[in-house]
Symmetry: C2
């Protein structure tokens, strides 16, 4: 499908994949840790890790003479974590309820507890769902060239 959303979902749209990425991001990088933390079946965890490695989102590094491996985010994978940060923001706003957010971000640049905000990479003003028109781009299905 000529849709960047659908393509992105082909990479991390399967059940568990975003949670695996989150865990790897916060430092849970080994098979046993992931399995124990998520409660995912070992079979599916194997499938997901292989898929994420194939897609260039994770890399598999040995960390011992023995056959022991840990998974680390590539640059491509780290940029996917942006997505998780936006997810966290939405969940905090709409689903956290009375108790408030379970996790907070402290921004290195200003040192404050903060959340992400979407802005235009051209003018810097806020840019959200209601602030844009959609136009066909060069990669649209059926375009010339």
């Amino acid at each position: 499908m000529a849709c960047s959303i659908a393509r992105t979902l082909d990479v991390i749209g399967e059940p568990w994949s975003p949670l695996i990425l989150r865990d790897v991001w916060v430092g849970m990088s080994r098979f046993e840790q992931l399995q124990a933390d998520l409660g995912i079946s070992r079979k599916v965890l194997t499938e997901r890790l292989n898929h994420l490695v194939e897609q260039g989102v994770l890399e598999r590094h040995p960390y011992d003479q023995r056959p022991r491996y840990e998974y680390v985010l590539t640059r491509k994978g780290l940029e996917l974590v942006d997505l998780l940060m936006v997810m966290k923001g939405w969940g905090d706003r709409w689903l956290a309820g009375e108790a408030g957010p379970p996790v907070l971000y402290r921004h290195h640049a200003c040192g404050k507890i903060a959340d992400v905000e979407l802005r235009c990479d051209h003018c810097g003003e806020p840019m959200r769902a209601g602030d844009v028109d959609l136009l066909p781009g060069p990669g649209v299905a059926g375009s010339a060239t």
Copy 2:
């Protein structure tokens, strides 16, 4: 799970849900349209639409005397589209290839073709996966109160 990412995935993490949201966002709001455009089975489309309505992401509005309905985004749903915009950005950057992005955004505020960028809602500086520390928040599992 006391994790806003997991909670958000409970709302739109099922297969097809993000694509349904995208279609509704761009104006494909009726059952038959969605079914034809996505190629999703009617059974699953029914389940997903019901779930999204239950979660307050979509509303079901009659548009005729006959039993005909269209689905529209609530405010909660519109904010979820932010997530889709970030997904599109990642897909454009990492998966679009030679052809380039299939869709472009024109930002109302500046009139330019642009993409979203994540910034700190406190200081306005870029805020991405590598720019934050994680701290336990008030809603963390096992917190006092």
